[in-house]
Symmetry: C2
Subunit: 419 residues, 2 copies
């Protein structure tokens, strides 16, 4: 991809109405554009990152048996009345169809759709367990939306719903998903900063679990146990206080308070939604039993925002390898020199032959300073600098941004070096 | 993929409240579920088709220079007031945010978002032409939604917007897109039935072009010229009647009336949206000039619905090769026989090694009749039947659904045969 064509550029003015680091970074770096409070367009540079995050999540969920479907955003009122949530969910967008006069909601989550959907398939024990997920746009009428991509009124969520014949099977799957969630946050580069966190289980479960990433931009407060790398959300201290203020897992009392953002959650729904929708299955003996459910969410823009909060200073970033918008940023320093232009063409072709869409070439007639300032926003793990000086040694400079190291690499060995 | 696990099954009762062939087929075949009028969940089987359609379109649009982004569904009222469309677009969902009291619309199209977005980037002539597209969920408060997936209140659209320095450049790109649209409909298997159709250009252009697929389920009426494979939409007969009722392209007067459904459209917007948003670019001489725009839409569910209308009878389908949910349907006839079970395992492994997720194995203990009835709904181009009888010749029966031919193929040569 050539930068002269690529629809991306540093927005010269800082995004002054944004208070969060991630929003400033994403807007100035050309990853996103703010349409209104809590509502962002994801620009081509940002969409490359978001799609990679999506693919990591999809791989992990499919590895755990997930089957993908796509549910609608428009929900009929009756489904939400059935669970008693029409009037109780504060951030539900509600409105009326002009023509049909039907009352509608925009789905902030999909238990009210997937439970009656699965019911239609007349499950037997042979169909269980069943794991259904989607990447789908959620809408939430947020009271405050001032944290950039961390708290959107509209965002893509991966929501997975699991259906089981009993609680034991749900519990086993819940533990399995913990492993995959850990993989997801590791692969997105925030594993170190992300803690599985005891949170409120609501009225029907003692605990649920959140995944909380430590960042000053977070709106949550957690207490971290460094012993077992677990945390407790402050919201449950009053509700189910860990005995003596200790870690509920290992008893450690030396907990550390940190601000954090919730990047995912897993929840044992049990029969909370199968009851109101009469979602049952036919057991071996032919009897009807309630289906036991779990649900597992990750907001994609929020995860991307959390990575930016952890990895960027608002002006630059080094993206984790698996989600970087480009693997290689090829930057020739003076394209007016025929020697530089020619070698750059050669190198671009040889790198593109191997890494296809993963090579970004800055083919513009700009100063080195301008190019580097933008490259800091792009944050590719490898930056390859083509200059007259190093070409004399038939070499280019390779900056490995993760390690901070720089090496002079012979052009003939460049593909091998980057492999 | 094993059918015992795959979340799909024939819905035993016909979808009696549906009037269209595509809705009956999709619901009974387990491709989609109706949440309410005009609002469907796309089930795993259907999503496999929809994603393949999406990828075909993406390939063609990227080949034409398109860069992908993702705009929001929530639009602020002011953007629609600016173009005068807040009060004039009948099918706009409008509502008020509970907390902020802001008036919002759900985007039925995105000129009102992309025009001010692109304006922020202070375009110069060097940035043009520019082609931006998305796959994004559209909402339309449809008066009537009785045609299944052909007319949804919520659906995914590929919308591409092109930005040019002058009309000549827009005209050239418009012609280029016609080629890619032809490719798309060919690859989706409805090229033969799909006509580029002269339609109303609105107040600022004599014609726009629609792509109309001939089907009795269509709500449009077109007049087809078999000479040049072009059509005219009836809606413009009164407005810009083809001279003497003749084909506007070749003058042929022998036109044939057909019912059809619009599966795509391309539109020369010119400065219709750049004017209200003052979207200009800096020309070579430094002067400001209005950006010239085009837009190009395809509704994905509608396209999928049109294929079903053309290719299915409500009980069976033969999917066009590139969009079939599975390439190969492997159907053993009596898995209780150890010889059949063992050979089926071997064949499934060898086929899956080559075609990974493209092989569907019916590993269930059902009668041949039940399996074939479901297989007719799945519509894979190749059906491989494993039975005791043919195993005696170390062979399987391969049904090639497109040609209707059946061959006995040696197991050792099966991969080669299917390649």
């Amino acid at each position: 991809m050539k930068q002269s064509i690529f629809f991306n550029q540093i927005v010269k003015q800082a995004a002054t109405d944004e208070v969060s680091v991630n929003a400033k970074f994403f807007i100035q770096g050309g990853y996103a554009d703010k349409l209104m409070s809590g509502v962002y367009t994801i620009l081509p540079l940002g969409l490359r990152v978001l799609k990679k995050i999506e693919n990591i999540i999809r791989e992990e969920v499919v590895a755990a048996g997930g089957q993908e479907l796509l549910m609608p955003s428009l929900h009929p009122k009756e489904n939400w009345v059935q669970t008693g949530r029409w009037d109780t969910v504060d951030d539900l967008f509600r409105f009326v169809s002009h023509y049909s006069k039907i009352e509608l909601a925009l789905g902030p989550t999909h238990e009210e759709v997937i439970s009656p959907l699965v019911k239609k398939f007349n499950l037997s024990y042979k169909n269980l367990p069943l794991y259904l997920f989607q990447f789908q746009t959620k809408f939430r009428d947020e009271k405050r939306a001032k944290s950039g991509l961390l708290r959107g009124r509209e965002f893509i969520m991966k929501d997975l719903y699991s259906f089981h014949s009993d609680e034991k099977d749900m519990d086993d799957y819940y533990e399995k998903m913990k492993v995959h969630y850990k993989n997801i946050f590791n692969r997105c580069g925030i594993g170190e900063k992300t803690y599985i966190t005891y949170a409120s289980g609501g009225s029907f479960s003692k605990y649920s679990h959140e995944y909380q990433t430590v960042t000053g931009a977070g709106e949550d407060l957690i207490y971290i146990c460094d012993n077992c790398k677990t945390a407790v959300n402050k919201e449950i201290i009053g509700e189910h206080p860990p005995a003596g203020g200790a870690c509920p897992q290992c008893g450690n009392k030396d907990l550390k308070e940190e601000k954090s953002v919730e990047v995912g959650n897993i929840f044992k729904l049990k029969d909370k939604f199968s009851q109101p929708f009469d979602l049952t299955y036919a057991d071996k003996d032919g009897g009807k039993k309630p289906v036991v459910m779990g649900c597992y969410g990750i907001g994609l823009q929020r995860l991307m925002g959390a990575v930016a909060e952890v990895k960027s200073d608002g002006k630059s970033i080094v993206w984790p390898r698996e989600i970087a918008p480009f693997k290689i940023h090829l930057i020739p320093l003076n394209l007016k020199l025929e020697s530089v232009a020619e070698k750059t063409r050669e190198i671009y072709e040889s790198l593109s032959a191997v890494w296809k869409n993963e090579v970004l070439l800055d083919d513009r007639d700009l100063s080195a300073g301008e190019k580097f300032a933008e490259a800091d926003f792009v944050g590719a793990p490898y930056r390859v600098i083509v200059s007259e000086k190093t070409l004399k040694q038939d070499s280019v400079e390779v900056q490995m941004k993760e390690s901070g190291k720089t090496e002079l690499v012979e052009i003939g060995k460049l593909v091998e070096f980057l492999s």
